[in-house]
């Protein structure tokens, strides 16, 4: 198996409505990533596209529609889609294209344009549910998450105040991200606790917003990476993914077992025995504030119920022992589903390569983990990266 490195990353602004077409967003992100890698499009062997349901953009087969903006014309090209999990699954697909020995350089482009669907993106989510049992009861995503949050708080005795701290941390971190949509340097726990009730316990500031945006990565075999960017060798050392049962009613809502399995797979591949000690920085998926905590636990970075305590103690701040979502996360930068790759995989790459600028964490991390979560709220993809 060939070893694989990340050699460039790029992303557009995340915003609730963008004038650019999906293709134009793809090109802006892909061009940045290629420029950072110092490669031209002609030097790319294959292209992987990640994008969520066609119904958001309103273009059936939108992966094929986006391909020329993603640089896929006349190249081996495929689309990967695992809902929100796409953010980390496309880079995993990019990894296996190189690890397999098939290719030396792969461009990975993720795009989302959620503003096209009217009246709003929720009308697309409305038909992800089981048509016989769920849809007659008119579910929406928020109240499903509210029930999960309720179970999580109940089982591990987690306080709403500690969960609110995640929104505060991430929205403040996002102030230093040039692509951020919802940064807020002055936000307080009280603001979060008193924000508009949606489906209690979930309130407005517990949630990330729908966004338009795109992100891109350039992956290369380690041999190629040593030639083109010997100053920053950041490799993908472990990958994992796993999915729980179809029906959300049949899952353990407090602890994400499927994520623990995906993480275990990635850690074993990377030779990590004790992730609590060996992982120095993490970008878990944070579309809701409680999900960051639950995902830290699923990533085995602490015991179930312990993430809230670490957050309260400041361990997960940028200057803490284990910085978590130093990018500002989905809560602060925005949530253009697949395109959040830029603040998960992109951020860990920039941090390990010491290229994160004002967001650079203080503990000079060598090993980091990032994760995305999606499909029918029961899938996770995990990626472990190292600086060599």
């Amino acid at each position: 198996m060939k070893e694989v490195a990340v050699v460039g990353a790029g992303m557009t602004l995340f915003a609730s409505r963008m004038m650019e077409t999906g293709k134009e967003l793809c090109w802006e992100a892909a061009k940045q990533a290629l420029d950072e890698a110092g490669l031209s499009l002609q030097e790319i062997d294959a292209v992987i596209m990640g994008t969520a349901p066609d119904a958001f953009d309103g273009i059936h087969k939108k992966g094929e529609n986006l391909l020329d903006g993603a640089g896929g014309a006349n190249k081996p090209y495929m689309r990967v889609y695992t809902g929100g999990g796409t953010a980390v699954m496309t880079p995993i697909a990019g990894w296996w294209h190189i690890a397999s020995g098939m290719f030396d350089t792969v461009l990975v482009v993720n795009e989302e344009k959620m503003s096209s669907a009217r009246p709003h993106a929720q009308s697309v989510f409305a038909h992800i549910w089981d048509p016989i049992l769920d849809r007659p009861l008119r579910p929406n995503l928020v109240w499903i998450f509210a029930m999960e949050m309720q179970r999580y708080m109940h089982k591990y005795n987690v306080r709403k105040e500690d969960i609110a701290l995640v929104s505060v941390k991430n929205k403040r971190n996002a102030v230093d991200h040039p692509c951020a949509q919802l940064a807020d340097p002055k936000i307080t726990v009280e603001d979060v606790l008193n924000s508009e009730p949606m489906a209690l316990p979930v309130r407005r500031l517990d949630i990330s917003p729908p966004s338009d945006g795109a992100s891109a990565l350039v992956l290369a075999s380690l041999d190629v990476a040593r030639e083109i960017c010997p100053d920053r060798i950041v490799t993908i050392d472990g990958v994992g993914w796993c999915i729980d049962t179809t029906m959300w009613t049949n899952r353990d809502l407090a602890f994400p077992k499927f994520l623990a399995r995906a993480a275990d797979q990635a850690y074993r591949m990377a030779g990590i025995k004790d992730p609590k000690k060996e992982i120095h920085i993490a970008e878990p998926y944070d579309p809701f504030n409680y999900k960051e905590l639950q995902h830290m636990e699923g990533l085995l970075l602490c015991e179930p119920g312990e993430a809230a305590i670490l957050t309260r103690e400041g361990v997960t701040q940028r200057d803490g022992r284990l910085p978590v979502c130093p990018s500002g996360g989905l809560l602060g930068v925005g949530n253009p589903i697949a395109a959040t790759m830029g603040i998960k995989v992109g951020e860990i790459y920039w941090q390990l390569a010491r290229k994160a600028g004002k967001r650079q964490v203080r503990n000079d991390p060598v090993t980091g983990v990032c994760q995305a979560w999606g499909d029918l709220m029961q899938f996770s993809s995990v990626l472990v990266m190292r600086r060599r």
Binding site: M18, M19, E20, T21, K23, E24, W27, A30, K31, L34, S40, L41, Q42, A55, D57, G58, D68, G69, G71, A73, S115, S116, A117, R118, P119, S123, V124, A126, H127, P131, I132, R135, P136
Partner: protein, 156 residues
């Protein structure tokens, strides 16, 4: 396995897709193209010098080399038919009378094609290589859409 003979008599749940409509932006290059069409009655393209390709409608990037394209060129209203089809029934199988002629219009050898309709021509008179010109709607009726061009007709 059981075959269904009367679909309405078996237990079922009726559903519909809840998206009401879509709002497709025309993008950065699209803004230039459709504004020039509506305001000036011009067809703009974007040229990539290094690849020697002109894109119509224009784009902000070259799909071959990824260069940023910011040079817009007026391609004029005349081109030639590169391929065509004569549609005699519609999507639901109903006869189209008169038939609709759809064609790919070429604006030059190194230029991408534009899909449009042909008009003021009998179906049996159309041939590949036929020289055609765009017939635009009057300015007050133009909306900044591809249908601001009514059709292309033979150059007499």
């Amino acid at each position: 396995m059981e075959k269904i003979s009367k679909p309405t008599e078996i237990k079922h749940q009726l559903g519909h897709m809840e998206v009401d409509h879509y709002h497709y932006t025309v993008g950065l290059a699209g803004e230039r193209f459709f504004t020039a069409l509506r305001e000036e009655g011009k067809l703009l393209g974007a040229r990539c010098e290094s690849c020697g390709v002109t894109y119509i409608p224009p784009r902000i990037y070259c799909e071959e080399c990824f260069a940023e394209l910011d040079e817009y060129v007026d391609l004029g209203l005349e081109g030639e038919v590169r391929s065509f089809t004569i549609a005699r029934i519609d999507r639901d199988g109903r006869p189209l009378d008169p038939p609709e002629i759809r064609a790919l219009i070429s604006f030059g050898e190194d230029t991408t094609d534009l899909l449009h309709l042909l008009g003021e021509v009998e179906p049996e008179e159309v041939y590949i290589g036929m020289e055609v010109e765009a017939v635009l709607k009057p300015k007050r009726e133009r909306e900044g859409k591809v249908t601001d061009i009514r059709y292309f007709r033979p150059i007499k």
